[in-house]
Amino acid sequence: MSDSAHPPAGHIRVAPIDRAVEILDALPGGGVVLTTVESLLNWARSASIWPLTFGLACCAIEMMQAYATRFDLDRIGVIPRATPRQADCILVAGRCTIKMAPIVRRLWEQMPEPKYVISMGSCATCGGPFYYDNYSILKGIDTVIPVDVYVPGCPPRPEALIEGILKLQEKIRKEPFLRRRSRVGAGLGA
């Protein structure tokens, strides 16, 4: 994940929990404790991904369908939040224009860490059918924000989106969350 959004190290106050993680990590056998705590935290985090209610184009309709009856993303703990301050995942659903790109970037910057991005559909992934002969569509949202999971399709079915979210859950479960957090806090980057 890019850390360009973070100010230089000197300006950051390291939280006590991150100090504790650093000390624990240095202790003999501390890594085992840390990993156990981490896997518990990751298990909890992966089962409550709260994405931002944010739709750009066609894929947003399939996203809504995934939230609604029959597919019901609530089952896997995905509850849409209307403000980036409460969200920890952004689902970029649909084509993003050059005019819209700074706003997507700002929304991503407004989200608290740890944050994830799912690029839904061909347009968000690479420009899709709007790649050629086009002057207004961004050729992939990963030119603006870092993407964790790409969901292919035009538009992807709700099942495909669910698969994408499950992949993101897998990624979160494997993440060295506490260590990464302390490194980011110290301004060292992930």
Binding site: I61, A68, T97, K99, I103, Y132, C154
Partner: protein, 367 residues
Amino acid sequence: MALRTEELILNMGPQHPSTHGVLRLIVTLDGENITEVHPDIGYLHSSVEKMLEHRTFAQGIALTDRGMDYLTALANEEVYILAVERLAGIEVPERARYIRTILLELQRIASHLLWLGTFGIDLGAFTAFLWCMRERERVMDLFEAVTGGRLHHVYFRIGGVYEDLPEGWTDRVLEFCDYFLQRLPEYDELLTGNPIFKVRTQGVGVLPREVAIAMGASGPVGRASGVAYDVRKADPYEVYDRVEFDIPVYTEGDCYARYLVRMEEMRQSVRIIRQCIAQLPGGSIRARVPLSLRPPKGEVYVHTESPRGDLGIYMVSDGSEKPYRVKIRAPSFSNLYALTEMMRGWKVADVIAILGSVDIVLSDVDR
């Protein structure tokens, strides 16, 4: 001493839970009253008109699905191929015309259901959203059985449709029609007679008839303001002149009237579908059309009634295999500008109700 007041400028969107896409509204407020609304559009401009100039006539169909109003993919395909067929003078087989009409009306039901669901969310009735999506899922299944796609179909072809209907599909459609008509009274119980819903919509956001005509508002927005104009009746295409249906017209021009128009339109769509299935002839589904179609030099304007209103295409051919110029007349664009008139003088909380009742799709506004 007089109290000093000043105007407040409020920015809504482009990321807002109820702007139905990426619309940005710059609202000028006097206290809580709206003095002016300025919609800022272009956040979803896909340059589809320019792109169509670089695609052959057959390739353009896939682009109209995505680049234009994405909720009514088939209606976009319809207006595009109608323009090409009129340019090239292609005669479409009867069966294909009936199939197209059935699918267009199913599309209208799907689109209105999504509108009803999101309008329900805007006004705090979350149940409506879940119910509408349940019904919409069944329409999606019907689409998938025929076209293979849920949202973007690329099913209509110049001179017909891609493939014949699968076996037993018409029975499934009739079954859906029965099911749907049973469900509609439930919506009436949930919303039509709901006192909270009525207070928030009745008399709110009135669009007078003259203003609606001057602003070019069409579709359900126009018909709720007393403009009895429906392209399906005024300038029939496909087989709309062979089926019986009524156009619901209300004169109130408020959010509630726009809601009632759409509810009635869904019932009328079911009526059209049933008649089409009863009359469905056999035979060929596609006329023989050369792969690299070169229509003669000329220009054509075709308009159809998409679920959002009067959707038109102006197409110029220079005799090559690509159109020289395509101009899309989008219904949402005109309806969006009628919005500025509807909102003036209302409270800021009514912005959501009025915006929801107009049913704009930003992909249609910006193209």
